[in-house]
Amino acid sequence: MTRRLPLIAVAAAALVAFADLRAGGAGRAGRAGPAATGTISGRVDVRRAMVDAEPRPGVTNLGAGSAAHAHERRDAVVYIETAPQAAFEGGGTVSASMRQVNETFVPHVLAVRTGTVVDFPNDDTTYHNVFSLSKTKRFDLGRYAKGQSKAIRFDEPGIVRVFCDIHSHMSAFILVFAHRFFAVTDEQGRYRIDQVPPGTYTVAAWYEGAVRQSRPATVREDGGSADVDFAVR
């Protein structure tokens, strides 16, 4: 399921091109510019019990090692699977940050647009070595100490699994979108995608490595809000 994201992005681009040729549907709505836009919002109700990743049992250690790592906040990401062409135009966020704090990546889930440069500052007293072997973006930042930061630009849409080469329990997700219609849920699981052109869309809820649920949503011609809730079991 997790591999759907890049495919979806490609498919979305193809759909947009097709829609453009026919000069109709969401593609035209996106180009119209001044047309009213709406909002897709709702809540992702996570009922799946997730256990924090733990350090490997340190039987070779002489002591208990460092203090317990921080609790990971596992946010969901909601996005439109087939976006109008306008969604692919213009720039979105150009920089973002994923910190390393108490042997935890903060945030655990980061959603960005293609072209975004993500900083990885080390706020711990120990070394970290951020890396990814994901096909979307393969990188290794090497070992660096507290107060230092390294950055990577993400140019391809898809999912990037991020790890630390020194601390096996550290992991995070970076979801890279080719369009701007996505949102990360807040602490209550709420999300809001603004400025969505009128049309009918498929909205997907991604959580911890997989698309858990997809639902249709319609933004009326006069804008307004479409409420779409998800339940992740």
């Binding site: 350090p55 049992p57 070779t60 007293t125 072997l133 990188f139 100490a145 490595g209």
Partner: protein, 413 residues
């Protein structure tokens, strides 16, 4: 290469292929860490390694398990059960077999209680089958911590010294130079058996350890069975091994450590057969060690040295140059070339003090030089395939050199 080598190569190939296919099938579904129950009361992890190489007919890589560390299959499962903020139980069970005709050995590698009297202070007491406090390598010998396939000489190479048997003279000792994988002496146990390494990194002693840390310093002291060369032996009487280590981390990425150990080495079954010494007598292995590690960016550099001496009062009559001493030094470096790909090298030497026989004075065992160069590639985050070339040179008259190509697949979960 022996008759079993093609079969081993085929097995390695099938395992690698299966892993590659599983890696392709779930490229995004990388493991996140150890498996834990809700509340993290129980955490379980494991790793598996398949190492293969041609037959080591010069026995450079044979360990105290009596087979080559370059030709084995190993499965390892470890767990920690947290019984509150002050007490944890930790265990590690290992099953391993030599590739070829070897039999599977299953044994608890570590099994101990970790007590933290003051939950907010970095003071721990470990009781049971505990990790050795001496040195650095034995605590990073897991497949994914060791950048190469082989082990450092000081932790693996079998010297011609045995805890339960002795030569009758200095000439008898010198005659066995470079034959530590299978040596027979007339005094004590006359059955042929392997000698001992300077430090046996494959076995954990039974005992108690106190560990405390106040940044940037941490220190450990342990009272355990055996000695560095024979940590799990019980045949040395009631005298315990006392060992300690102090490590300093002056800056991120740099660790400098010093270790010391003293424990009874020669077996009671041997000393009982010898004439009693005039005084209480000496029977021990003493060792000091120094280690350092520095890492930055894509580099890790390590160095470790062990100086060991073995003493037995009764040996004074046989060897005028008593005690027997040995010195090991290894330097290792790893460089990450690109994501998932690294190159590594280890340069290693093992030297011995001289003993004078009736004809000449020579090191009591044959000095060894070793260079191992190789690299590894991460197929997935938790799956590494390594390959290395190892060149060994022994200053002895028989089986002097050996060049071995090895490969290893390591999977952790």
């Amino acid at each position: 290469m022996g008759a079993t080598a093609p079969r081993a190569a085929a097995w390695f190939g099938w395992v690698l292929l299966a892993c590659l296919l599983s890696g392709r099938a779930a490229a995004q579904d990388e493991p996140r860490g150890a498996t834990a129950t809700p509340g993290s009361r129980l955490t379980v992890a494991g790793d598996a390694a398949v190492s293969m190489a041609p037959d080591d007919d010069a026995y450079f890589n044979y360990s105290s398990d009596a087979y080559s560390v370059l030709r084995l299959v190993r499965l390892d499962a470890s767990a920690v059960l947290r019984l509150g903020s002050r007490l944890s139980l930790l265990g590690d069970v290992r099953a391993q077999s030599a590739i070829g005709p070897g039999q599977w050995q299953v044994r608890p590698y570590a099994l101990f209680a970790r007590i933290r009297p003051w939950p907010r202070k970095a003071v721990d007491i470990q009781v049971g089958l505990i990790p050795p406090v001496f040195g650095a390598f034995s605590r990073s010998a897991y497949g994914n911590s060791n950048p190469l396939v082989g082990f450092p000489l000081g932790y693996q190479y079998l010297t011609s010294l045995r805890p339960d048997a002795l030569p009758a003279s200095a000439d008898g000792l010198l005659a066995k130079r470079g034959q530590g994988w299978r040596v027979r002496y007339p005094v004590g146990n006359a059955t042929p058996d392997h000698g001992v390494p300077l430090m046996d990194g494959l076995r954990y002693p039974l005992g108690v350890e106190l560990h405390a840390g106040v940044r940037p310093v941490e220190a450990s002291v342990a009272v355990t069975t055996g000695s560095l060369s024979t940590p799990d032996t019980r045949d040395v009487g009631k005298r315990p091994q006392i060992s300690g280590r102090i490590a300093v981390r002056p800056t991120a990425g740099l660790v400098v450590g010093a270790s010391a150990s003293r424990g009874a080495f020669f077996a009671r079954s041997l000393t009982a057969s010898l004439a009693a010494p005039a005084d209480n007598g000496t029977n021990d292995q003493r060792a000091i060690g120094f280690d350092a590690e520095y890492s930055r960016g894509y580099w890790i550099v390590r160095a470790e040295s062990i100086v060991s001496s073995w003493r037995l009062s009764q040996l004074d009559l046989l060897l005028s140059d008593h005690p027997l001493r040995a010195f090991s030094l290894d330097m290792e470096s790893r460089y990450r070339i690109r994501p998932g790909l690294y190159a590594a090298i280890r340069v290693d030497r093992l030297d011995f003090s001289e003993v004078c026989g009736s004809v000449s004075c020579l090191p009591w065992d044959a000095p060894i030089r070793r260079v191992e160069i190789g690299g590894g590639y991460s197929i997935r985050r938790n799956m590494v395939v390594k390959t290395a070339y190892q060149y060994n040179r022994r200053e002895a008259t028989v089986r002097r050199t050996s060049g071995l190509v090895s490969a290893q697949l390591v999977v952790w979960f």
